[in-house]
Symmetry: D2
Subunit: 419 residues, 4 copies
């Protein structure tokens, strides 16, 4: 890396990042605004409009409506490598319980996964990189993706011609805020995020008056028995050394106490890292759902539908090494960690699969460091630190935001040509 | 009984009922209209308006707005006994699946309990009794009650001064359509309908991302374990000779697959006939709900709230005997049966309790007799004949309607002074 | 009833029963001896020997070895009715925990159902009746039956030619000690004791090392899921007004912690009163057992075997009326009660079915009256009064014994010809 | 390593192992004899006698009765390193179902874990090493340990003064036969075998007649609910990336169908690799067991007793590297594999902990290679290859035996001084 154009002992990244203190307060306002206005998957109209406007203001070429609500900004800055920087921007059907002054203003919808932070950090990095374009050359494609939560947005943008429009990148870089101490960054080479299968299961019973169970086939009991049996997939059918998570995130049956309903609906979320374990789990879920329906005397076989699937996200070994080296130089060894494989899933891998480019995807912490340390000492991190998708998930604005902007900028510059 | 004013060999009831064939077709239209326009408890504005209009047209004194949406019609016809005839008119939060041409036009609301038939039959009986007022003397108070399904409407009318307005009746008469062959009527002396306790149970877990159950206390699993354990109340804690029904009519937790929710909500419906069994069941439900929450490591004790309670409905021995004698005379022995104690509940008893008048409450069949007989031969009545609260519950219009009008008219005349 | 041969104002029964105070202490010794030496079904060699010896000493004609270990004593005393008096004498595989000085001396075997009391009372009654034979005429056949607990002994005696040997009786009389206040007797006309089906269910899994559940199909979990689901038969498939009891009395799987066994074994006991309910329960049990095995991925369908079956015991209306009238005269109204239908079962009905004679079968109390009253006041009778088959079941010797002898003698004399 | 005394191109190990073909048939006979005569933990009297006799015949110094039934043989062969070679020799309470001609002759006891093979292979290695003592110098302590299955034998030998008697070794070497292709050896550096906690849980209910569940607190249902809930420890409370196994290996309650028993007994086997996960699991098990008892209304808190505990077995990095290097030289790269951490447990670590010597513990395959390959192709290894503790577990005698002798001899010589 040659840094000839910079003051002695400084790097291109030092120069580019120098502007961050000035921009950070404005980014914090943007973050709070995004947080207060969450939008569900493929309905991110306000968010995508806001992003497109910002990108235009920075002087990027802007493509909108790619994959329905996706937005792309291209910053072509002379010869050099082409890096794809990615942020996702949809929210979740969760009712916020943080009590924050900038909490969601939309009932039942919340940025409970931190995508608002991803958007803010990528816009912040683009601001710095655009302002500091004299320090680097190459092309940056900034991808703001819809519908990550349902595993559909990345593929929708690819299918809508993303790479025909922007060309093939040399690397795909993405990041996610998580329940780690704010100020830290973490990346795991190899399989870093799990494959997901989301299923909707409809159990068919037979409704009747609540006082006459003998006239019914009770789908509430059928559902309860099914949920209990589904626990055995992980506890009995997966070897200790393998990994699988089977969550029933939603169970809904009936509306009132004195009517036994006709049906019950389960929504399952399944995480695995290998094809073999995935096949075992999917077969076991089907066997259990059908067996429990048979045990219940169900009048009709259950209906099992796939809601969405995410592939495993595999961090490229070389790309991860390069990014981590840059992180260690920027943040210091002590703030860079290996989180190991996470059971979360991401459709960011779709950009790598479609383009053939290596992927590097990392985490940055969002938890108040003091609170984290306290929980760690008590051994209660898992239970006391609200994690993504919790109605209590709320990154501290700083140093989370500054760290996320710094990480994305640093990673981009480790691939771009610097002067 | 003196029937001096009637043709030889006929009775006052014969005379009054003679007009039924003419009025039946119009009543059938009214029934289909009511069925198509169901309204939830205490929201029966269209229904009560329609009832008030009809009562007025029949020349009755009309009181509206008693117990919010209740309507009363008084037909004072000289000296004689005072009979209270009661119909209930609210519908249920059930999505109709009958496919009938006159099915509900309101999404998610259905006359799945037949109250539309009760209203129609009482209006039909009043029409005949008003037209035939020369055949009898006394006072008829026709009570059209809201909110029976939530056990609140009868008490609301009482609390709103019903008996201050109309005086104390000599008897309270009511009827319910049920899954018996149309054309039959049934009445059980003594405890005829169960006490109900409806409870809402909120289970508190701790939400997290669906991939991180270790960060959660999963309320879906807690709810499933609770539902399975609740089955043991009836199967293990109630003696074979006692009766209790414990139904979880609704279980709702979570909305999406990849978020473990914070809470789960159960709605329970409990039926018993004695104070001792009721106390045993309620204590067991509380013990199980709390024990399962403890087993789950719940961060907070469950919340158990009472939604509504219905007392046991006890048919007065003398009143029942008198009514049944009239029914046998009218319908013939073979069409009058003893249904035994039913696990359903009714707040009609509140009119008896508040006034001190004896109560007689009976059933009339609504199932196509041929279909009933076929199911009976196959031993599948309980499963194949849709019962009250089923989304498939649909009385055949005739002979159900004619039977209901005849039963109500006959019962009323068995108490009134006839000439 | 003519009582010409007796002192003024006394009856034949008064005369016969006058000797009871003298014989009671010896009977108490006999009872304690029998209690200390329980023998399992069809292994009652000591007991049957002892009975045969006593019968011989009383001058009865003795038949041994009928139905393997059954014993019959015949006391022919001139012209008159023929009454069959029945006692059963087998014990249970229960480890006694009463701590009584005369507790079982045989490990794992206990007279936990009170058959020792039945034997003692019948021998006591025969002693009085033989001594008082001048007061009555007719024939008494005393049947001491093996293997009641497995529902096999009565039929075995019938099949072995009982009625060919002793002729057809005019009535079959039997009694059972139970958890009622000692000193009372109770009898219910009609269906008085339930039908029983005892099933053995073998669930087939696949064993493995305890650390490798993925190599196993865990039969312990399969059994647990099956037991939980079996609770729903009673809680969901039987109408509130019907009666069924489904008990899993034994669940055995595995011997050590670190080996997942190949199989699990359940023993079920099912009680019903009607053919329809019985059919519903048996079908549901089969459906659940098979469905749960399918849900578990069992390598082989479960094996369901019938261990034994008992028919419903129906007390003949006329015979019960006659017996109850005699009891009321003897014990006073306040000591005679109607226990209602009990969920227990008895093969005593087999003697009625085979001979065509009416059956009357009653209970007599065995609980210390003071303890019973205390539990009743606390509403804890069901839980605090040890009932039959409990390892704590222990009738108080008196007034239990005296009541049982008196009841059997009184009932017999109400049928015999008295002078 | 200098091999000056051996023919050109050969090693000391070549020389020592040259005798194996001659001794193998006799060893196979010994193996079949041991297999036919399994003995439970601390009852290995025949086995220890046979071992002591063989050790004496080989000219070793023999110590018997160490740790009750343990046997030690010492082969002091001049100056040089001191290696401890360890085999365990107890069997399991499993009923053999292999159908082999040399199957267990003791009912309910089986060498289902292959300890018979361990004994045979160590005796075979000692035979070769004693015969070839000119090729090496140093001291071999051969430890034949009782009661490995209950985690007690190694510590018992240590407590009985093992290291006072034989001195401190330089390394502890042990091996285990497993469900891998015969002919292969596998070793994992670091945590190689899990910690085990074996618990006995007694659940207290209240017994009653099977027809009167209302008089009971049913421990069978309590046990079933507990087993179902225990599945959630692994499925819900342990992160996907962590490892825990919770097996209920035995559930025993009741003996007969018509008696609800007083108690139920569970035996749990728990495997973990870290103190944190272990603490989480043990706390969850206690919480669930107590919570389910509370939900059941148990009259008394459950009793949780520790049956045995095994520490994690950590293979020393340097010792493992040395042993694996020797294995690769002996067997070729393609027959040496890394099995990863196994969920099995071993008390062999106790010899390392007590002496301070590094431990190296490896597996050797026992499955017919053709059968293994077939199962692997079908993806059914986990289900179709009988694993340790299965009643079908049966290593093929060869090449299992030859591989085990070769591995133990090779490993020993890689530490001893060779000439």
């Amino acid at each position: 890396m040659s840094d000839a154009g910079h003051p002695s002992g400084t790097t291109a990244a030092d120069t580019v990042l120098a502007g961050l203190p000035q921009t950070a307060p404005g980014l914090a306002d943007l973050y709070r605004d995004l947080h207060a206005h969450p939008e569900l998957s493929f309905q991110e109209h306000r968010t995508s409009g806001l992003v497109a406007e910002r990108l235009g203001a920075l002087g990027l070429e802007v493509i909108t409506g790619l994959g329905r609500t996706g937005v792309v900004g291209v910053l072509a800055n002379g010869a050099g490598p082409h890096v794809l920087l990615r942020a996702d921007f949809d929210a979740l059907p969760v009712t916020e319980q943080t009590g924050l002054p900038y909490a969601s203003t939309t009932d039942g919808v919340m940025h409970a996964c931190g995508h608002d932070m991803h958007v803010t950090c990528l816009l912040g990095a683009l601001d710095l990189l655009a302002a500091g374009r004299d320090s680097w050359s190459g092309t940056i494609t900034a991808v703001f993706q819809p519908a990550e939560e349902i595993g559909a947005g990345a593929q929708a943008m690819v299918d809508d011609g993303l790479f025909d429009r922007v060309g093939i990148p040399d690397v795909v870089l993405g990041q996610h805020v998580g329940p780690f101490p704010a100020g830290t960054v973490g990346c795991h080479p190899g399989p870093a995020l799990a494959a997901t299968d989301a299923l909707k299961v409809t159990l068919f019973g037979k409704g009747a008056h609540g006082s006459r169970p003998e006239a019914a086939v009770d789908p509430v009991v059928m559902a309860a028995a099914t949920v209990m049996r589904l626990q055995t997939v992980v506890s009995r059918e997966i070897a200790g050394g393998d990994t699988a998570v089977v969550t029933v995130g939603a169970l809904n049956a009936g509306t009132t106490d004195n009517v036994i309903p006709d049906t019950a609906e389960l929504k399952l979320n399944i995480r695995t890292y290998t094809d073999e374990v995935r096949a075992t789990v999917l077969a076991a879920v089907r066997r259990i759902v059908e067996g429990e329906a048979a045990a219940a005397g169900a009048p009709r076989e259950p209906l099992i539908e796939t809601l969405d699937t995410f592939p495993v996200l595999v961090n490229d070994a070389g790309a991860t090494d390069r990014t981590l080296t840059a992180f260690r130089g920027r943040f210091g060894e002590e703030r860079v960690f290996d989180p190991g494989p996470a059971t979360g899933s991401e459709d960011c891998a779709a950009f790598g699969t479609a383009s053939g480019a290596p992927v590097c995807y990392w985490f940055f912490g969002g938890t108040d460091p003091a609170a984290y340390e306290k929980a760690q000492k008590s051994g209660t991190v898992a239970r006391d630190v609200p994690s993504n998708h919790s109605p209590h998930f709320a990154p501290v604005v700083e140093p989370t935001l500054t760290t996320g902007v710094t990480a994305m900028t640093t990673a981009a510059l480790s691939w771009l040509k610097t002067r």
